[in-house]
Amino acid sequence: MKKILIALVAVLIIVTASVSLVACNNSKSDYEYIKNKGTLVCGITLYEPMNYADDEGEMTGFDTEFAQAVCEKLGIEAKFQVIKWSSKETELNSKYIDCIWNGFTVTEERKQNLDFSQSYLSNKQCVVTKADAVATYTSAAACAGKRAAAEQGSAGETAANELTTTVTAVAAQMTALTEVKSGNVDFAVVDIVLANQIVGSGDYANLAIATGIDLAGEEYAIGFRKGSDMVEKVNAVIKELLESGKLEEIATKYGLQGQLVK
């Protein structure tokens, strides 16, 4: 038994040591790495209007076209990899994807672990309740004391914590909406882009957005590995696309022109 324990401790030490060694190890630049393989793998979840399949099964959406436009300028190909949203940072650091480009909200916490491009869309969080109760949610004060749900680690969770004291952190924004629908919580705080798409349709027809509550705004950007030189390359292209009016054209196609950050 003692021998097993010693062996186990040894294995743990070796693993920890090699992880920390490699963590300090900076290889060649990220841009060169991506340019070499010729593809920029964007980590996405299927999400209208950002990245989704059209009726023919072709990938489309604002972020899809945006990424394709940027990559074209960089002379590489955009590839879209569906990931589990909760593993996005792991996917990025283990190099299965090269960026997170999927209506990705900029937050201070996230900035510590990855680098953002310049913001390209503004987004807001909103409060979603059952349609028959929405009339009572006239202001932020009406949320006090109510039960809320929001995606773990999302901007919505931060906002929900400011609104009330009992906040359930769930795995996904959709789960937060399901919590409201099933009556487990009174309201959910989710992205307005998502809410506009989902709330009031399908199985979520009996939910509604509390339009009277105005929550702090936030912005979408592209997430890259920490220290990546892709950020400046992509920022330069975004600037170009803004100047040429190409980005506005894409945004208009998906009804997002009002939210574009110029």
Binding site: K95, M174, D203
Partner: protein, 221 residues
């Protein structure tokens, strides 16, 4: 989204589920036997290493193992080893994690089955001049199989449902597809519909195991 469309989507996911299930079984069943022999060998270093390995695999969540197999090589050695497999990389990683995990569980079931055979059966074979291989294959094996069918069927039915864990590394199984429909089309019912697929599949497996048990009920050990 119509019922037919949802069915098609879920079926494509269910194909992935079935493939993962069948391939896991195909590799884990024999690998489990090898691990089992390793954990029973008289050569102590091998026995301790194998038992330690089985302890680690059975003692940690499968979800974590999926993470380790798929992500850790990329993070530690800076090379995503499953990238060369292209679109199948995630599936291959999930398959490896499942095969290792289930082989360890199977090995313990095999061990229990083998140890339940009385010493007298081996001795009877020995005094009749039979070799070790003949004793194992002609005398012990069938009795072991009879003993392990009930725990095996339990474990295999668990495997069917466990395959849905592969979605944590974005393997597009049936639950993954149902969740995708949920977030794209705001439909919850496909999730429950997906449950029906599992139910029917496990129902068929249960019938199969019952028949196997019955076909071995002609003798008692």
């Amino acid at each position: 989204m119509s019922f037919a469309n949802v069915t098609l989507e879920l079926l494509s996911g269910f194909g992935m589920t079935c493939l993962l299930f069948i391939l896991t079984l195909a590799f884990a069943l024999p690998l489990g036997l090898i691990i089992c022999f390793g954990s029973m060998t008289k050569f102590k270093p091998v026995r301790y290493i194998v038992r330690g390995f089985v302890w680690i695999i059975r003692g940690t969540p499968l979800m974590l193992q999926l993470f380790v197999v798929f992500y850790v090589p990329g993070m530690v050695f800076n090379t995503p080893i499953f990238a060369p497999f292209g679109d199948y990389g995630r599936f291959v990683a999930a398959l490896i994690a499942f095969v290792i995990n289930y082989a360890c569980y199977f090995s313990e079931i095999y061990r229990g089955g083998i140890e339940s055979i009385s010493k007298g059966q081996y001795e009877a074979g020995q005094v009749l001049g039979m070799t070790k291989g003949q004793i194992f294959f002609k005398i012990v094996l069938k009795q072991v199989i009879k003993n392990i069918v009930p725990p095996m069927s339990n474990e295999i039915i668990t495997l069917v449902k466990d395959t849905s864990l592969a979605r944590v590394i974005a393997v597009a199984d049936i639950i993954f597809k149902a969740e995708e429909i949920l977030s794209l089309k705001a439909l919850i019912w496909p999730l429950f519909y997906a449950g029906a697929f599992y139910l029917i599949f496990n129902g068929l497996l249960t019938l199969l195991f019952r028949r196997t048990e019955k076909s071995l009920s002609y003798f008692h050990s």
